[in-house]
Amino acid sequence: MATIHVDGKQYEVDGGDNLLHACLSLGLDVPYFCWHPELGSVGACRQCAVKQYKDANDTQGRLVMSCMTPSADGTFISIADAEAKEFRASVVEWLMVNHPHDCPVCEEGGHCHLQDMTVMTGHASRRYRFTKRTHKNQELGPFIAHEMNRCISCYRCVRYYKDYAGGPDLGVFGAHDNVYFGRAEDGVLESEFSGNLVEVCPTGVFTDKTHGERYNRKWDMQFAPSICQNCAVGCNTSPGERYGELRRIENRYNGSVNHYFLCDRGRFGYGFVNAKDRPRRPWALRDGKAITVEIGEALAQAANLIKAAERNGKKVVGIGSPRASLEANFALRALVGAENFYDGHSSAERALVARSLQILRDGPVSSATLRGIESADAAFVLGEDVTNTAPRVALALRQVARGKAVALAAQKHIAEWQAAAVADIGQHDKHPVFIAAVDVTRIDDIAAATYRNAPENLARLGFAVAHEIDANSATVDGLDKATTALAKTIAAALLAADKPLIVSGTGAGLESILSAAANIAWALHAKGKKVEIVLAVPEANSLGMAMLQGGDIGRALDQLAQGSAEIAIVLENDLYRRADATSVDAALKTAKLVVIDHQDQPTAAKAAVGFSAATFAEGDGTMVNFEGRAQRYFQVYDPAYYDAGSGVREAWLWLSDLRAQARSSEIDWHHFDDVTAAIEQAFPALTGVVAAAPGAKFRMKGLKVAREPHRYSGRTAMRANISVHEPRASQDADTALSFSMEGHNGIQAGERPASLVPFAWAPGWNSPQSWNKFQDEVGGHNSGGDAGVRLLDPAANTAPATYFSPAPKAFAAQSGLWRVVAMNHIFGSEELSARAKPIIERAPIAYAALNPADAAALGIHEGGHIEVTLGGVKARLPLQYRAELAAGTVGLPIGLAGLPFAVAGASIALAKAPTA
């Protein structure tokens, strides 16, 4: 701790920070541009100048950059000093020399850090009368628009993109007042985290292209605290809506999870919410054709189907979904009964997720938070291509490698915030990250060593590493010398670390990889290491799905095919992604199908009765992320406000109504909070779901929390095309949020729970930088605690973990058969985001990947086509060479459009496809 004196007042601060960080954490406003809590200080923009005095008696003082000055004990500074103020106004004046006067047509306007800082410094009139320099803009792909004339050369974009995110293709060109930030030539930005540029950039150089296409000012959008639906990491997001459409997704700060950054799938993959072909009314099959029906009629039809089946002594099975909320899944379970409730994963994935849950719940090692990953000083990534399965983890892993520079700098008494000095001292030194995967990965550039092999052999390496660490863990027989040596190297590096991290997941499709990862983590734990583990699971609520203990989908399909079950109620799920088409067709041949979903998908197309479900934008829900954190997302907007006939309702509501009708009982769940309470009652392990966010009765100073900024405009007119009478604002009985600009929108520290902050705004701070006002200290935890409740507590496990054994046998290529290995894709593999236009543009077309030797043996060359038969469905796929794939394995992009259902680990025949 240190005492600093600011404008005559005394403050206690953490002396390890710089003065800018300290002042902002105290709530004092000091303008800045080049500094960012995650990027540290470089002293480039000179905006944060303050007057520093030698001591209490010094009246002269000198200007210093607060970002480059330690907040040492006994520091005397003035923010209000006249010269400091004049200098800060000058800095904005210089920045404005070349900045265009295009605020009215600039997409950044209204949440622009440059605007905020200009107002803060008081620079109001222009003296510069000469020409401005201009630049050419670049076409950077479907996500990001580029307008270089607005650039103020703060260097944040390259410091984020290159230094923080490891992107190779954004650079600084030119010199003096002609500095250019862009690619060497036009082209798609390669980093999977390029979208953060739109928030990192303090002005409108990099903007969200998807937003630009359907643009609204920030103050004119309605927001809700939300959770990304596109993988299991559970990044916190702030989706903005206007006229019943999502307009953009921005990052929402969570100090334990995503803090300032999202991945591009999460940011740009929301198009499925706005899809024109989305079912927005319930529907029913009439003479083989789907027609829309009234809500009551749909409910009655479905209830009758259920009643009839039960009268006949036939079962009604419910198939849940890992992309649906806990509440929706639980409501389905309540309708069909625990014994008829089935897990929505494929059989294979269900087993993998169950194993993951078992490791996290019953083992002695905690799952790492996303933020926790970054503080590890060694990592072993076993079998998981995290960039493509849990993308934000890859960005966190880059920070593990970068941590070495911080450690080296600390030896020279250089603080972490001295970003340039830290990088200069660290140079190319990295903390060790080992990556074992079936193919190259996008973070191999940070790897101390990489290892490629078939999944079984990756698992064997993992078992060997665990055995090197603790001889009590399972042995591996017949490992070759090189792999044994690598295992020893990895084990030694993990043991040498203070905080080793093990990263694995379900992506490779092999349980023994998860077991191996657990063995390593538990072995390190047994050696007294502060080890943490990360297991990437397939979907946003995979872990929540597993905690509801549904049965294997295969059994549900069998019962439907055999006729012991007559009705299948499928919740937010496309069965053709969960089982092979033959089995699904067999199951649906005679059975009656009821579907609740928000997307027009192959299973929904076969429903006898369908219910139009809410997406995350139209409903509330809780999901359990990969670390076991229950997180609440809130309805962003009320579709009925724009369309009185809207049939979009939350799935739990449909299922609750259906249960009441089918059982001829009273409705027992009136509000969302009733469902969460029922979940905790039925599943003690899910205790924490209620507390994941405050309930509907929560008020702040007697007010609900406003979803809309207080400047929200046009409400009286926005429905004028429908009716000139403005209806009452939609009411939200389920949550503590209001569909209005009326309500609490203050930022008083600790007052507003983090889970109830819909968007970033604070007086004078309209840009995403205003998140710094919602934290206990800048860049730290959210005031009042980070959102979400961790449901798993391994510290409570006192019994020593029993190691998994035995290690799998080595993979051996079989003549004429190829082992399927999963190729995951950040853009395209995930069902919902794959429906968004910009994601489709970035997604590869379905292919089959072989190493060139295997391809040659089949007589196929790159550019040629392979014929595969998957679950009885033939597909003709272009061949891609992947030099690193093990002989005897074929890489298939599971989940990608155009590829029939496939299971990693299956053995399939391949043939050269006849020419088309």
């Binding site: 470089v42 002293g43 480039a44 923009c45 000179r46 905006q47 100048a49 000198r62 200007l63 210093v64 480059m68 004049e86 200098f87 000058s90 800095v91 210089w94 920045l95 020399v97 070349n98 003296r127 510069y128 009368r129 000469f130 103020i152 050369s153 260097y155 600084v172 030119g174 010199a175 003096h176 007042d177 002609n178 500095v179 080296l408 020279k412 250089i414 001295q418 340039a420 000095a421 200069d424 001292i425 660290g426 140079q427």
Partner: protein, 439 residues
């Protein structure tokens, strides 16, 4: 450029840096250099002195940096971590990126006595126990590059460079790195960053290069002329070096002074430290060309404040010139004659500085081009009321401590002094209202 006309008479005792230079300025090869005590200092250092002894000698000699800042070289060296716990890799870098307008002293030394710099670097590297050295050479110095590289090859063949310098157990390699033409590379931290293959942006201090410099390792950066003094100090001793300035200055040694501009015999000469500007201009430079009067002068490069004719009798040393509110800088005078408009002179300088800004910090990147455009307007008689105030604000806010490095403060030095001494010439550039509206 003219070297001293009667170089043959020079002695190593009084003109250590230049006495070996041949009348035709052709470089001495290793044989000729060795014949004139060449590499004797190196042999003495390796065989008779500990590394710390060399540093102490240089400290005792009060050798101040000849690049312009005047920081004592021995003090700089003594900040380098030494001993068993010190990092294994340390670097010595010679700043030979001589791009200061009006400065051409290092060129003479490198082109004509390349072995002197090489010997100096080996001795200096021995003092800080560096294992590798770089000469960061201005890209346009093609002759110097050729001569240095040939000399390095000769030194290697003679066993002065390599794994076992002079057969001892300490090794040193030396490389010439030619710059790509950025003035900012003369700033030592930008030079280091450029040497690493990155954009030539300066670095914040601390950490100082002696702790974390090239590749994050301890590094000393010294100017060509500074280093070139080192063998002579080792050979002849600190007291001898102190005496070289002949009581003209409390600073030690000789200094290569020079003059450019419309004088009769522009050039550079090795003279005792503290020689008066008048002697440099009038005796060695031959005085102003006929018909021209001295209007003002820059003591040592474009980034120093103008001084006036009445300042000519000042001793050219670091402290005396600083007291007159300028800086000695590189010690090579640039003279302005009475026919030159000061606004044009300063506009020309600011054009250079604006172009050479690396673009890292705001005041320099955006303030210098604005400064240049204001001067251009004044030069063309298109100035407006408030322009001088804007320029004055610039001189304050592009000053020391406000910008990231010394580039913009250097650029402000001629401007602020020109505004002080010749305000009328600036005011003359302001457009007078065509008609006065009657009150």
């Amino acid at each position: 450029m003219s070297a001293a006309p009667s170089r043959a008479r020079l002695s190593g005792d009084t003109h250590p840096l230049t006495y070996r230079i041949q009348p035709d300025l052709q470089p001495l090869d290793i044989k000729a250099y060795e014949a004139q005590d060449g590499y004797a200092a190196l042999k003495k250092a390796i065989k008779q002195l500990q590394p710390g002894d060399v540093t102490k000698l240089v400290k005792d000699a009060n050798l101040r940096g000849r690049g312009g800042a005047g920081f004592p070289a021995g003090v700089k060296w003594s900040l380098v971590p030494m001993g068993a716990d010190a990092p294994k890799n340390k670097y010595l870098v010679c700043n030979a990126d001589e791009m200061e307008p009006g400065t051409f002293k290092d060129r003479l030394l490198m082109e004509s006595v390349p072995h002197q710099l090489i010997e100096a670097m080996i001795v200096a590297a021995y003092a800080i126990q560096a294992r590798r050295g770089y000469i960061f050479l201005r890209g346009e110095y093609i002759v110097a590059a050729k001569n240095l590289n040939r000399a390095i090859d000769q030194a290697k063949a003679a066993g002065y460079l390599g794994e076992k310098v002079c057969g001892g157990d300490w090794g040193f390699e030396l490389f010439v790195h030619t710059g790509a033409g950025r003035y900012i590379c003369g700033e030592e931290t930008a030079l280091i960053t450029s040497l690493e293959g990155k954009r030539a942006n300066p670095r914040a201090k601390p950490p100082f290069p002696q702790i974390a410099g090239l590749w994050g390792k301890p590094t000393v950066v010294n100017n060509v002329e500074t280093l070139s003094n080192v063998p002579h100090i080792v050979l002849r001793g600190a007291a001898w070096f102190q005496g070289l300035s002949q009581g003209k200055s409390k600073d030690a040694g000789t200094k290569i002074y020079g003059v450019s501009g419309r004088v009769k015999t522009p050039g550079c000469w090795e003279l005792p430290m503290g020689t008066s500007a008048r002697e440099i201009l009038e005796v060695h430079g031959g005085g102003m060309q006929d018909g021209l009067q001295l209007k003002c002068w820059l003591p040592g490069g474009a980034s120093t404040d103008f001084l006036m004719p009445e300042h000519l009798d000042l001793a050219m040393d670091f402290d005396t010139i600083a007291k007159a509110r300028s800086r000695m800088g590189t010690g090579l005078l640039t003279v302005v004659d009475h026919k030159q408009n000061i606004v044009s002179v300063v506009r020309n300088l600011e054009d250079f500085f604006a172009r050479e800004s690396c673009g890292w910090c705001t005041p320099c990147r955006d303030g210098l081009p604005w400064t240049h455009k204001l001067l251009q307007a004044l030069e063309r008689g298109q100035g407006q009321n408030g322009d001088l105030e804007a320029l004055e604000q610039m001189t304050r806010f592009l000053g020391p401590g406000k910008t990231f490095c010394a580039h913009a403060p250097g650029a402000m030095e001629p401007l602020q002094s020109a505004l002080k001494f010749f305000r009328g010439e600036f005011e003359a550039g302001i457009v007078k209202p065509a008609t006065q509206v009657a009150a």
